[in-house]
């Protein structure tokens, strides 16, 4: 399936892209992160440390083991620092 992947903050900077469309069969966010990390050295640097990452699936916060089935947009970013 085709999924739109968005990156924010230092994840975006390390990947070097704000977003990209990827073709994936990943079952969970964790699987998708592993696939994405193979795309470039920047991706690997951004996505290697899962503990430092937070995710959203279709604009809802989700854990790394959340299923990706049916997802159209996923986002990967550092822990949030609003307020």
């Amino acid at each position: 399936m085709a999924v739109e992947v968005l990156y924010f903050a230092w994840v975006r900077e390390r990947v070097g892209l704000p977003r990209e469309t990827v073709e994936t069969g990943a079952a969970t966010m964790r699987d998708l992160l592993a696939e994405l990390a193979l795309r470039s050295a920047g991706h690997a640097a951004a996505l290697g440390d899962h503990a430092a990452l937070r995710c959203a699936i279709d604009q809802q916060l989700a854990g790394l083991d959340a299923p990706l089935v049916g997802a159209r947009e996923v986002a990967i970013f550092p822990p949030m620092t609003g307020g």
Binding site: F8, A9, Q59, P78, M80, T81, G82, G83
Partner: protein, 143 residues
Amino acid sequence: MAARVQAEPFDPARELAALGEGAGAVVSFTGIVRDDGDLAALEIEHYPGMTEAALAEYGQGAAARFALTGWRIVHRHGRLQVGEPIMMVATAALHRRAAFDAADYLMDWLKSRAPFWKREIRRDGSSAWVEARAEDEASLARW
């Protein structure tokens, strides 16, 4: 009953007007860009689309949980100068405790669950992303 995300400055005082209608207590929290010595500016990135939905969801959640008569969330993004308000939360309720707790609760959610990321820009031009603090996550666990 409104959540807004905007690049433009806002006037905290103005946001409070009319919020107290029918209420006995109004609490507001305003976060301000603070110069910690050599801060030139703050840059705030957010997740357009998700941010607005998340703020509205947290606001409605707080309204239901604390029986609010009114609430407001305003959060800026983009480049902010020292002294400028970053965001504000205001809550109105029949009684004091509910208004205080709801504002405190919303701030905990905003700090750790709303998709905003801050970068500090120093006077020498260097910059660094603000790291999430363990105490903010712990504060959220109180609720």
